[in-house]
């Protein structure tokens, strides 16, 4: 009895979480345009999606911005962690507090203030400003996921490497970097997701001509959403799903290797 209840409960939660996405997936294969009737299976919307230049451009923008923003934020964030790690405890906790404020800040405040700053300095809004804005809000996430790894570093391994004749750079890349790599990877992935996910900040910092997926969807809501966007969402969902599984497999392999 207890087992059955448990099963039902679990099924309900999964249903609750995944039913909306499932609906969307099903509808993306619907022949007709309406949401309320199944008229037959077809790849029509997928074909339309891949031949639609606006969508493809928005997809390209989203992915390149997310990649470069995550990459830049990871480099800056890791360097910031090196500095933070060398600080005295008191100063470090002060700067870590400072790092947390942007995370808690409402997106709309970040977005508007970035827009105002760009305009103030006479920078016209375009692809570059969006990328810059994304780098800005990704850095705290990288610091947040890399810093704990720095704190758990094996005692004095960096010094031991220097002692054995390594230059500071060699010691960092050979000894410190492999140890903090899991933090760096999760910081990068987190930044990437945050960037793909973002609508508000992008909305305020993009110029007229450029769209990411989220702003494109937003602009299409006004004229009515076409099922091409269902198809697009399905593709994105599937991609994320595959990536997640891959990440899990890789990290499991790593664990096994260490054990």
């Amino acid at each position: 009895m207890k087992k059955v209840l448990k099963g039902i409960y679990l099924a309900l939660i999964i249903l609750f979480l995944y039913l909306p996405i499932f609906t969307l997936m099903v509808l993306s294969f619907n022949e007709g345009k309406t949401m309320n009737a199944w008229t037959g299976f077809s790849f029509r919307w997928y074909r339309e999606m891949f031949s639609n230049r606006t969508i493809m451009e928005a997809l390209g923008n989203t992915l390149t911005i997310a990649f470069w923003a995550a990459a830049a934020a990871t480099v800056v964030g890791v360097m910031a962690c090196i500095g933070l790690n060398a600080m005295k405890e008191k100063h470090r906790s002060f700067f870590m507090g400072l790092n947390n404020i942007p995370l808690l800040n409402a997106d709309i405040v970040t977005g508007i203030s970035l827009m105002l700053s760009f305009l103030l300095f006479g920078i016209s809004l375009n692809y570059g400003t969006v990328l810059f804005a994304h780098i800005t809000f990704c850095i705290p996430y990288v610091i947040l996921s890399v810093m704990p790894k720095f704190r758990q570093l094996e005692n004095h391994t960096f010094e031991a490497a220097l002692d054995l004749g390594a230059s500071p750079a060699y010691a960092f890349f050979k000894v410190v970097l492999p140890d903090i790599m899991p933090g760096i990877i999760s910081g990068f992935l987190l930044s990437f997701t945050m960037s793909v996910d973002d609508f508000v900040i992008t909305h305020f910092t993009r110029g007229a001509g450029i769209n990411t997926l989220s702003t494109l969807v937003y602009s299409q809501v006004k004229v009515g959403i076409r099922p091409t966007l269902y198809a697009l969402s399905t593709v994105i969902f599937a991609a994320v799903f595959v990536i997640l599984i891959l990440v899990n497999i890789i990290s499991n392999k790593r664990e096994e290797k260490r054990a």
């Binding site: 005692n155 010094e159 220097l162």
Partner: protein, 358 residues
């Protein structure tokens, strides 16, 4: 020609957050010497090694290596290797890679490195561990790998921070023997840190007893053991009886109201002193035969001999003897004059330091 010091620490002072850890510390280390820093926890031993290794900059003072000032030289430029107190092995590399780390940097050939790794593992009794991961080793095994990783580089100077602390007695003795053999074979100068006085006495050419950032006494193991300069050294090096006494005149000291002949001179008349008597130097006899009469209050067998407490003259004497005297037995004690060690009483810590600085 006088042998030049290989390493010289000149007037090194270091404080952390306003707390003085090393105070005007001076030390000379000759080529091929085995020097041990001995002292209680927190007395600044690791800090001294870290200054030598280049990981800490002294507030004042200089570090000299072969007559050259290396105070500001980066750690990777020093011909010094360290065995860290906390091992500091590289967890992302296997054991062979750990040991090969320094050799790779100095550009040795693959063949040479492979041989050396094998040799080093054999030396620390861990042959065949090349492919193991660091996490899979016990504390003692990790400690031995740390030793192997440092010695394969054949540095001029090896700093060892309690390198045998995690080993059991038998293994520790084996490793002590190996380290000394290695030192003689390779001609490496050793600066060794331990708080195990027995280890310090058996291994070193010279022992430096430290407390609270000061050198309390420096000398050969025999000097340190037989002629401690003050109560701290006497107490730290082995068990001893440290008793208040009064130097009546040259060669006569009064302890517990009784007069003991001794061999020390030049302390003046009626001068309060500290008297050190080693437990094994107390001769136990029948009542009335010795200088003081007393009674045995405890008796423990500690291997080889019995350790007894004898209440005599208002003082609890620690005595060691191969003959056992049961608790409650009335006995007498005496000490031959040359086994009585007289020391000045330290007036205050500052004065104690001043006296040692000269």
């Amino acid at each position: 020609m006088r042998q030049m010091a290989l390493i010289e620490l000149v007037d090194i002072s270091k404080s952390f957050d306003g707390e003085l850890v090393l105070d005007e510390f001076n030390l000379k280390i000759k080529e091929n010497e085995f020097i041990t820093l001995l002292g209680p926890s927190g007395c600044g031993k690791t800090t001294t090694l870290r200054i030598l290794g280049g990981f800490e900059t002294p507030d004042t003072g200089r570090v000299m290596f072969q007559g050259e000032d290396i105070t500001d030289l980066a750690p990777n430029k020093r011909q010094i290797n360290t065995v860290f107190q906390k091992y500091a092995l590289f967890p992302n590399m296997n054991i062979a890679e750990n040991i090969a780390f320094g050799l790779k940097i100095s550009g040795k050939s693959k063949e040479y490195i492979k041989d050396k790794v094998k040799y080093a593992l054999k030396l620390v009794n861990l042959s065949g561990y090349e492919k193991r991961s660091v996490d899979s080793l016990s504390g003692g095994q990790q400690q031995r790998i740390a030793i192997a990783r440092a010695i394969v580089n054949e540095p001029r100077v090896l700093l060892l921070d309690e390198p045998l602390g995690a080993l059991d007695l038998k293994l520790r003795q084996e490793m002590q023997y190996e380290l000394i053999r290695l030192k003689n074979e390779l001609g490496i100068t050793f600066l060794y840190v331990t708080h195990d006085q027995e280890e310090a006495l058996t291994m070193s050419d010279k022992v430096v007893v430290m407390n609270q950032g000061y050198i309390q006494q420096m000398g050969t193991p025999e000097e340190i053991y037989n002629e401690p300069e003050n109560a701290f050294v006497a107490d730290f090096i082995g068990d001893s009886n440290i008793i208040d006494g009064v130097m009546m005149e040259d060669r006569i000291v009064k302890i517990c109201g009784c007069v003991f002949p001794c061999i020390d001179e030049g302390f003046g008349k009626k001068k309060p002193v500290d008297v050190v008597i080693r437990p094994e130097d107390i001769i136990i006899g029948k009542p009335g035969e010795g200088i003081l009469d007393g009674v045995v209050t405890s008796n423990v067998f500690i291997g080889v001999h019995y350790e007894m407490c004898i209440e005599a003259g208002g003082f609890e004497w620690l005595a060691q003897n191969t003959v056992s005297y049961p608790v409650g037995q009335k006995v007498s004690i005496r000490v031959t004059p040359e086994n009585i060690q007289i020391m000045n009483k330290p007036q205050s810590e500052d004065e104690e330091a001043l006296a040692l600085d000269e």
